[in-house]
Amino acid sequence: MFKGYMAALAAVLLAFVSLPILGVLSSLGSPDFLMVLFRPELSSALALSLETATASAAACAATGIPLGYLISRSKSKATEVARILVTIPLALPPLIGGALLLNVYGSASPIGSAARGLGLALTQSPLGIVLAQVFVASPFVVLTSAAVFERIDRNYEYASRMLGRGRGETFLRVTLPMAKNGIAAGLVLAWVRALGEFGATVMMAYNPKTVSIQLWEDNAIGGLNLALPGVLLVMVVSFVSLAFWMWISGTGRERTGWGV
């Protein structure tokens, strides 16, 4: 009886989630499907999204992994505050995040106008897109990294240091390799999140258009007939990323040592 109730409730959610995913396949029957799919503006939007998502993931990796490590290894109030700060973008509606970014980096702000003086446009540019994507995607890297590093017994690091290797060498040769699968999973999530980012990007860089903004505009102008082929394309990219993430998280568990 209990299992039946649980299964029934679960089925409601599964159906709710599956129908839109399966429903998009109906666009395959459209006579204009290929023509709509290979429009230059859609291809360039997708290429831009892939490039900026990759750049954002790289920026998150370079700064987020060190932050995750520091959070995992320190019990100070400062690192607790840092943990809360990096989690805030997860709780903020993306549009609000975009407004906050625009307030600080927009062309009328001190930082924005100083950057413009150096020839850097922080809004309405690929750099603006990356800034928005890093803001929303960085928590995935920081929090995943912190969780993975916390699971690695510090005695592995002490063992390395007792063998004459310094902190930096220990991090690169022991800690990071042991954490690599978990961190990679966090980076994939960050990349997927960045790829699909809309709200903050709309505020910071409506142009050049990312694929999410392009599809939003397609729907506004031409309805679902115009938007669905691009939606299907982005879904395929997302599914491939998701499969990769599941493979890294599942079969490629980070090796935390004894008994594993």
């Binding site: 002490y158 007792m162 063998l163 004459g164 040769r173 022991v174 390799p177 090796r255 594993v260």
Partner: protein
Amino acid sequence: MLVVQGLRKRIGKFQLGPVDFQVGNEVMVILGENGAGKTTLLNLIAGILEPDAGSILQDGRRLDGVPIERRKAGFIFQRPYLFPHMSVRGNVTYGLRGSPESVWSSEVRDVVSLLDMGGLLDREVGGLSGGEQQKVALARTLVTSPQLLLLDEPLTSLDFRTRRRLKAELKDVFRAFGGPVIYVTHEPEEAVALGDRVLLLEDGKVIVEGGRSELEALVQERYSD
């Protein structure tokens, strides 16, 4: 010669010390029940913890304040902590500098032979038994030619037979090492089998500190049925 003077450390409500002792080229056993402060004392000597007061000198050189990686001390933990992403060979030579070919010196081969672990070199870390892993951990430490050897209950997690076999091998290892060894245990049989000196800790306080005769008397008095 390792000299510990007035060493103190407070962790929460637990107070270790003051601790005073000296170890020459011999094996000092730190004996005591769980929670006595044995591992804390070993971690202070290793540099994993910094003392609140006191000093640690090795051959006249102050160790307190020196980073772990510059203390030239070898540490064997309760668990082997072999690096799972490296092979046995990689683990054994981890602490050595040089090309993969040059690090396999005669000294390294001597350690491998002493521990009779030649058959383990081409195996993966994950496939080793507990005793085999501890041997690799020991080899990994000894090949770096430490000046001081610290062991924190290295046989605790092993089954009885493996413990007995490895205990016999440890005697040979300590003899070949020839430098100061500090061996933490709560097992009186291990203490008697391996120790030349004893330091008995209870609730962070030194109860007994002495040589072989004190060790035997202590075990007879406190641990015999």
